[in-house]
Point group: D2
């Protein structure tokens, strides 16, 4: 893992690199191995072998690892990866990012397998064009901010060393889980006590995660090119607990209060990962290592007329506007103009 | 106006009458006189003249009154109306009901002109079947509760006599209107002070109105066969002002506080009707005279297979479930299974 | 259990009984046995023995059962109870009601131990006055509606006989619990499919429960003298899922969809009670047996001057207005008039 | 107006200036001239005359201008102002900022007259200490972002020259005002169509304004040290319209659709300022000229023990955490531990 650190404060829309060297290694990530995924991987492998024969192709060490790929194991001494290719749903990208819990993530090129996902810019049928754009260094990336998590015991001392750090792309949720009782969480911002939350739990989310669990819990939709932390309560026993948005320079600590009657579960991007006992806490900060996600708009032809008229050329992050409309059906207006015949419905 | 009073507490799903006498007079109501409306009225008139030649046909006294209709004027000495037929949008039904501000409303048969509406069960193309069902006394009605409004001056004395009473089908909204300043409204329930609201305004809605302005302001969706009053604040300056639902036995008073810097406008079903000065108030109660709306399900054939399998035969109020799904797109799920191709969007 | 059935549709504010017979048996319910509770029970027992020596005093069969009480066991052949006295928090009343899962509940007189609760009308220090009002038959009750639950297996057949029925006072919540994944629930109203919910879970609540979990999940506050069912989603993955309020004649079925990847837990008034497997369902209806809760206003002197001026005499349900203001801090206005000195804070 | 432009991207917590020159002119701003305000201005004037006799003291040109102040008129050729002192409520600061519609605003020192306000760090009784901190250059400021507004006619051409630009500190609200009808607004982000809003109106707010109107309309609370634009709908006729948060590099255009039946009013920081006709639009961008507001924490003694233990020394923006708790009563927990005696309430 020798990728240069990318600072959060660089433009989130910059190209991958100015003095460009094509990727020499690719990591293929898939969560499930359904028939379409298997076939897609095969096509992808033959394509890469033919067009980019020198490139090393890695895959996680799993029984179902595709032939012709080398084993790749995460960790500080992992083999260098220049490009990640994911095949699957949003969960596959979350999984790919979680393989780089510590340090930087290489650029991610994500293919959907036909179903839609919020983090999935490319349809698998277009993989050739997308791969070439990435290899030619013409792709533009959206640096999706991540949160870095550290854990503190009852005395406030850090419970983990650097290797146990954890970075998330969507959110951290501290939740009562199977306990039927409300839990009590003390929330601190930059070390200052903000509030005591009696609720099902608390979500601390990135802008990327603002369209995931946080949205379901009533949080605002935050554009992913903004660097910010979103704090959203889950079913708080209070009429006046609203979502909060903090600058990315803030640190947020969630401390399971000693008043809580039970342990609480921590979900990291939807994976139950830790359990906090009363008195223990987790602290979240913006990570220095965002996830560089290759934009859909990267590979749209410059002469694409519809794009032109919209005024958003390749490299502009505008996938998001289309996604919240197409996928979330944002502000779907009532069908007042449709035609409904009672006898035909 | 000699229609028998209908008690709110009778079943909301009962047939029009057990010892049935067919309607002897019909009031046609239309707000606008677009080409489709004009044509629809013509078809309707020839149909009625042919099939029910003895029926009197009324229309409001307006310059554009269709030929062959008699003038009808609202008021306590109005001509008796046995059936209202509306042609237009939801606003047309609201307008029809507002012609019966005092006392009872005859059953309402509502036709949409192609566009959808929440209160519009029938498409105009099916008018023959619908009219016959109504004339044969086979139609079932949903008694949509109304609110009756009385006004009080600063000393708490009633400002109107019975003739000035007002009944609404959707809601009463007391709103700052063009004044840029928040107003202050004291809310009383059954004479008891409930809260002081600093906001853009307050809505008191029927269950029918719960899918209109109240919904936009964050209120719950209340099934129209429930008798209840919904109180919904409009942009309150408080984190803890939630919508409230009261039994139909409650009376709610909105008093524009003397702290308010400006007058506030009262909208009755979307018509700006009165202005309250600081100190004045309006009191809302469930009216004894709901609006009997003929159900779409009335005219569905008993052997309609799809209906049968749903288990909801004619007479069951189930239009509503379909409407909140079809019209409001209630709980429209994210399009996670659709297929989106970037190159084709 | 021979108490007469009380019909839900009788006035919710009626006195306990017209031809009045004083209670012959009292069931004392306490969840915890803290020092104040122990002392309160002792005072209560000596008071009852002195003033009402013929009354039988029951207590649940627990190791910490107070001396001088008889064992009482729930069930269809339970000893007759004429009055329940609870000492503790809201959870104690929920527990008391849950002892009468099948059939009717006797009137409940609830004492708080100093802490506030939403269902707790009386402070323990006033127990003498409250007990006498109850024994003299002067108390007024609020009939708090309950929900009756039945369970269906994958084929839609009822899974329990009458003895396994369950009645709840607050709500039923079907929740993903410790599973990190969203579950999918099909919601039916009166047998008709309403929506498919992808969420953390679904709450079906009584008006009483509308200030409990449902409120935290974003539901409206419903006055407890209204008979209605409230359906509130918990963190739905949809922008357009709003709380719904149904008449008490409706039945609501929650069916854990076969698409759900995991089982889901059912909480009944906050007790985890059952687990549903994909395909199984639970159906909720208004129970015939509400919980008759003795009102705080019952024991306020008629000459209480403050009351008089409010216009709400004894027997009027107005505890609720005070409770949502005092306890929930409903619409707590921003402290714009308070005085804050930076140097003194 | 010769103040140097301050770039938004400089740290929002920086001191007023490194090579410090004390203010040579002060502008006193008060909206109302109540007795406490008059007295406070008098004390302030004698104080300044005694301690800083060379400083020029300005006031707006109004009939009630205090003796001993020079007339100050806004505009591009206005006299230079080095420090603004406001006396009054939040509205007074908004007014002061609106005097600098074009270009930069000098640092603002705001005194409350006893009542609380969200933007009011100092109590008037402490004015000496606060003034000295400001004159000594030891004050820290929070650069509260402003929005700059430009107007476009139906053809999309700009309707104003630079002098007609407008900068707001809280928000711009485009609202139906006194019209009873919903309006239709097309929302564009960076020139791209985002959504068509059918609603009472749309708010575009700064983080500062996120606790004002936007909060009432359901928006999130955004920390004022973040640079972002918040878009919040007012009573939208849609179940799925959520607040959005954009980076400060975005431009947002609100275009009153030609479908709207009436004009719509524009409020700038609560002042009705313009009326848009169907087809016209307004575009909002982050201004280069934030409002430098002097922090309360600036004048807290370094040895203030309570502060020290919180770890937030002078210069840290932590007023906000205290304000949302003290003023907004953020997440005010239910009074479950208080003691309520029915007989004493
Ligand atoms: N009640 C809720 O809304 C819950 C949501 N989640 C979310 O699920 C995520 C994990 O995803 P999976 O492993 O796929 O689990 P999953 O298979 O349970 O799916 C979660 C859903 O969220 C979508 N999703 C994930 N990230 C998203 C994003 N950033 N923006 C918009 N939609 C997104 C996925 O496409 C999928 O439809 C968690 O990070 C959490 O945000 C987890 C639990 C409950
Ligand atoms: N921000 C908002 O949502 C506002 C809503 N309104 C509503 O408009 C109503 C007046 O309607 P129009 O005269 O047609 O005015 P309009 O032409 O302005 O249309 C209002 C919209 O509300 C719909 N609507 C009316 N009653 C409804 C109901 N009970 N359930 C669902 N949708 C309903 C109509 O179909 C139409 O789409 C008022 O009673 C009020 O409820 C009025 C002002 C603002
Ligand atoms: N996120 C949330 O808000 C959750 C709420 N609950 C609620 O807790 C209830 C069980 O209560 P406990 O056994 O005391 O558990 P608990 O000890 O966990 O306390 C729940 C809290 O809810 C209050 N409460 C209970 N019923 C209420 C009502 N009808 N109106 C207003 N407040 C009420 C209690 O006073 C207590 O403060 C459940 O019926 C459920 O409604 C349960 C889980 C999560
Ligand atoms: N429904 C609502 O909540 C409405 C709110 N407003 C707000 O009023 C502001 C104008 O204020 P005034 O001239 O004082 O009018 P005003 O006298 O009507 O008072 C508005 C209230 O908002 C408070 N306020 C102003 N700016 C704030 C901020 N940034 N954060 C928290 N609270 C704030 C003021 O202290 C005052 O309590 C507008 O900018 C707008 O945000 C205006 C109309 C309606």
């Amino acid at each position: 893992m020798t990728l240069p650190k990318r600072n959060l404060h660089t433009s989130p829309k910059s190209g991958i690199s100015p003095t460009y060297i094509p990727p020499k290694s690719v990591l293929i990530v898939n969560k499930h191995r359904t028939k379409p995924v298997v076939e897609a991987i095969e096509s992808l492998l033959s394509y890469l072998r033919e067009k980019h024969p020198d490139v090393r192709i890695f895959h996680e060490d799993r029984p179902d690892r595709p032939d012709g790929t080398e084993i790749w194991r995460p960790g500080t001494d992992a083999e260098r990866v220049d490009l990640i290719v994911t095949l699957g749903g949003d969960g596959t990208i979350l999984h790919a990012a979680s393989l780089f819990k510590v340090g930087a993530v290489p650029p991610v090129l994500s293919f959907s397998m036909g179903t839609l996902g919020f983090l999935l810019p490319f349809h698998i049928d277009d993989f050739g064009k997308a791969i070439e754009t990435a290899f030619e260094g013409k792709a533009t990336v959206l640096h999706r901010m991540r949160l870095i998590c550290t854990f503190q015991n009852k005395d406030g001392h850090t419970m983990n060393d650097v290797r146990q750090e954890w970075q998330v792309m969507n959110e951290v949720a501290l939740h009562r889980g199977a306990s039927p009782h409300l839990n009590t969480i003390d929330v601190f911002v930059d070390g200052q006590h903000l509030t005591e939350a009696v609720s099902d739990g608390i979500i601390v989310s990135t802008p990327t995660g603002s369209t995931a669990y946080s949205l379901s819990a009533g949080g605002p939709i935050v554009h992913p090119s903004l660097s910010a932390l979103v704090l959203t309560p889950i079913c708080p026993r209070s009429l006046s607990f609203r979502p909060l948005v903090f600058p990315s320079s803030s640190s947020i600590t969630l401390r399971l209060s000693e008043r809580s009657r039970a342990e609480a579960g921590l979900s990291m991007d939807g994976q139950v990962s830790h359990v906090l006992s009363p008195g223990e806490s987790i602290t979240l900060r913006a990570s220095l290592y965002p996830v560089p996600c290759i934009n859909r708009s990267s590979i749209v032809e410059p002469d694409d007329s519809r794009r032109g008229s919209e005024g958003a050329g390749p490299g502009k992050e505008d996938d998001w506007v289309r996604d919240i409309n197409n996928l979330l059906q944002y502000n779907a207006t009532f069908r007042s103009k449709a035609l409904l015949r009672h006898s035909r419905t």
